[in-house]
Subunit: 354 residues, 4 copies
């Protein structure tokens, strides 16, 4: 109810502020009998963690997940999986300048007004540090969904847009460049651009595309919990996300039905896939694909005018170590949230029919 | 869990197939003491109902809401509001040709695979007829949110796009034309275009923009139930929706932080509103605005090749009475879903602080 | 949230006041493919309905369930099952005397204080008429749980207590007498006693025992949603219930561990069953049995002193047609609620392990 | 869904096995602005902890709660309160003898059958150690409910029953004796009896009574989430509980309506309180009181015959350090669960009416 849980059967609850002692979470509803690959979990954590390359924030955080329960001799027991990630490298003093100041386009003002109090250090609960818990849980969800393949990549940085369809791309390129763009040439351009932006003390937005393959037919619960509606909510709940479209998306609004309809092959597959793998909120077995829009990071290494909690004009400048562009580190988060959605619907679907 | 409920405190559960005896719903959690304006509810129903103009489906359905409970002498009692809408004008025979046929880009195939059985008549549960229940409930939510003003309008039909910002538009124009476009000149073009499309036996997609004004600061529950995440889910749960963006949306991905950040005025308002009225998932008091993308209607009055449940190729052609473009009738549905989201968060927010 | 839904996967939401147009409900999450036996549903409804014998209220209500959705050609489709039960025989005038009066030990006062308004006619939402919806839904849950046998019977009326263990009783006797006591001799005594009580214009409490057989091992979700905890909640949510005990119950508090422990046979069954078929909140395959305590009906055909909404002392006397003792009609309600609990846990348990 | 969360708005999720690294929980939905009294929390933890007196288990566990989030400078921030309690003193070897053995009347067998795997050490998730998290959360709930006074005490140990009504007792006596019986003379008898039982290597059941005073009128959500139904579920979810009754309870079944009805005083209070402070599932402002039945602890310091996971007969004897009677340590758990229920309904009730 207060918004810190996600999912119905496979359910993640997270807690923690960026500069408290630890962040963490509880996964309730993971079936018993899943042998966990802890290395795979660590790999996902490393894809998200700060300091991984020259184009992301240079904060050093190990982001080690400590599992406290729900696992016995490496296998899930069906009881809740509690875990924490210690906040090892908080430099809380970096934030003393924002104690009474509302940073533009941050959540300082809204948290203060909603709750009457806020932990200002590093954004507190509104910090994207919370997404580390999502990645940890998503890594387990991925292992549950053995057959399903979830792949995200950067498809836009500022005005640089990867126009190729996902089917033209070689996904094995994604992790070979720090931008996580599936096209090496575009990746190089994006990397150069992000470095420029950082030099300017500025930031830039971007886009992540996600493709989900080998999805069984039948996932998604009409009418309100349509598969794409939950995917959309999942993505929009990630920090800095401003938009979500799947299948033909916003461009599809310009098409005629005679262009847009996906005709059937005899085996139930379709000749085109404007639908994006979902019909009536239920997966149809075709690839699911969607785009997620991220706004530019609000913390600039430039002077900005803003107000303090007294409503007085003050000048401020970002301190600390921040990302000039979030999308490279957002890639594993998008995948994690997609995995959480699919795991939940996969379990729910066991009860669709007798 | 099975997906037919929406909301947490102000919660709507709907039921019903398009050609069953009736559709209906239950609103649980509407506070007691709300004097209902039944005429206003009827007005909303009429904005959605078929047959209202020359550019929508010519089916005749009165869509009268019968309230069965939860209201005493015109005032809500705090107990659940049950209601039904009788399916008066079902021509079930119109659908006998699709009994064993999967219509392209409809949910026939996915329902059949998920449930092993389906009520094929008029799409059954997957029919957009279900949205009548949302409009009824949304009309009550609107009355609960007295101060908040929710306005949607058509901003795109096929390639015709209304490029003006909402602030340049006169909302009183919206209900004056059958397209529900806020710009009279564009409305006329859209109307002509939809008529052409219909003559071709084709359909076309479109876009709806929604603006929410006078929102109190503080609505939305971080971190998973962010205000825009729930709005996104709400919109994506509407039939035919392919995308959602709020504030700067997909265009915002191309901006720099120095362009995108909304600077504060001394009273806490902002000089620009790229944020779309929401920071960190919480309303900040500025206008909330978002776009919703609708694909073209899948039922065409043309011959299409498809398959039957045996996997054999068959030819089919739409029968019955269908919309060439859904967006004019989607406007009240978008508003209704927005109202449901806001009503829920408004009630939830009463417990944000002591 | 507002309390009108029960269950998580197999979920019933009810609505309706005793003297509104209709009561009804929505069952969401019933798997597709269940062929319904409508006669069996009617049988359950008849076991609960007023006027069925000389010792219950003489109101005449047909209590016919009209299913509006979720069923196609007699088979569930996986979509929500909406239903209504028309309030055919309301004599609302019978209740004009309580419009501004708070009946002793009724919910008039608390509803008024909580909601600031109430539909006083027949108790409105607080009337046990609502339980008709539970019986309808429970009848479907029973059909889902084909193998599981749920049997309730009256085990106490006032000071008359059936001391025999359930294993000594012949359940086929239950429906042969109007009290629904499994022991014919005791049934006769109870019937005589209830008639006497009615002549006095008084009422009396009673007890219902329920036995659930052929339960698979593994139902129930620790730690908060233990099987007996949900059964307890289910029973306590029935009007007039004051207590719940299962297995050794309150008497078990007086035993030593060496007396109470149920020793295992080699096949995992137990030699005794003080546990009542549940260990750690999970069914162990033994019979589940529990007792439910009902207070005497509060409406008396005698003069009582009470207060009105102005806080003034007034005298009142029950009008209308009321039960002198609720337990005979409570038997099918107890079974229905037990069925709802088990159906939900049965579906949930499909995801306990891989 | 998987049963490890309790509450709707004020919601506790717990995790952890008795012999894992730590147990813990997340409280979501505690309003911001509550200044916490950490000493009061510790006091509650100490009332539950092992080793506190000669008549409870002699295990030594400090049971210190480490709060990880949701609190800033001693005040709740409205974000989730995550906490852990380290399992400092696990002697896991004590349990190697039960690795493949099903202890009689424990949850070993049912966990194994349900999940196919279990952490056998100390009962794993089924251990009452989990209740430490409930006490921590309940201590915060109590602070939220400033005006409401929740008092539990032992009212039965084996055949020793405290027959006095709560109104005749001096609650300040409760914490003065290790049994937590409100009557000093009876407390002494109970203490002696428990010591005897322990000498025999046996255990004994008991009863806890709870009284809630100063409850505002209006708490509880009809019809399924009646205040007493949630209290019942809360109590029945505590380890070893076999029964719950409130107000007149099981004895009330023997009364006539003319004896049982609580007549009103002019101020809306009642002359008697058979109702136990609740009408129609809603608090009426009178004292709420209820009894909770606990079975004898299943771990005996005697030889018992049982089976192993192969279905072979084996002999076993309890090792480790166990309680001869749980009720003294159950008193703070009963209070904690009552506080969680009331806190949730208190917040929910803010939206009962406009």
């Amino acid at each position: 109810m207060a918004g810190n849980s996600f999912g119905s059967i496979f359910k993640l609850t997270t807690f923690g502020e960026s500069h408290g002692e630890a962040i963490g979470g509880v996964i309730d509803g993971c079936p018993a009998g899943l042998k966990l690959d802890f290395e795979a979990i660590e790999t996902e954590m490393n894809r998200r963690k700060p300091g991984q390359s020259a184009i992301v924030t240079q904060r050093k955080e190990p982001d080690t997940v400590q599992f406290l329960s729900g696992i016995f001799e490496g296998i899930t027991t069906g009881t809740p999986i509690g875990f924490i990630i210690v906040n090892a490298n908080q430099k809380s003093k970096d934030y003393s300048h924002i104690k009474d100041t509302y940073r533009p386009s941050h959540a300082d003002y809204t948290y203060d007004k909603k709750y009457g109090i806020r932990d200002h250090r590093g954004g507190g609960r509104s910090s994207a540090r919370e997404t580390a818990c999502r990645v940890a849980a998503g890594a387990i969800a991925k292992q549950l969904l053995k057959e399903i393949k979830i792949t995200a990549y950067v498809s836009g940085v500022g005005e640089l847009k990867l126009e190729k369809d996902y089917s033209e791309l070689d996904f094995s390129e994604i992790e070979k460049n720090p931008v996580r763009c599936a096209d090496p040439a575009m990746a190089a351009q994006m990397e150069t651009y992000i470095k420029e932006i950082r030099k300017q003390g500025d930031t830039v937005g971007g886009m992540v595309t996600c493709v989900i393959q080998n999805v069984p037919v039948g996932l998604g619960e009409p009418v309100f919990d349509k598969l794409h509606a939950e995917l959309g909510k999942a993505m929009l709940s990630i920090n800095a996300v401003k938009g979500f479209e799947y299948g033909s998306g916003f461009e599809g609004t310009q098409l005629k039905g005679s262009q847009h309809n996906d005709l059937f092959n005899e085996d139930g597959s379709t000749t085109t896939n404007h639908s994006g793998g979902i019909q009536g909120g239920i997966s149809n077995g075709e690839d699911i694909y969607f785009n997620v829009a991220f706004k530019p990071v609000a913390t600039l290494m430039q002077k900005q005018e803003t107000i303090n909690s007294e409503g007085e004009k003050v000048e401020m400048e970002g301190k600390g170590r921040h990302d000039p562009c979030v999308v490279p580190r957002a890639v594993p988060i998008v995948e994690a949230m997609a995995a959480l959605v699919l795991a939940d619907f996969w379990l729910l679907n066991k009860n669709a029919k007798l």
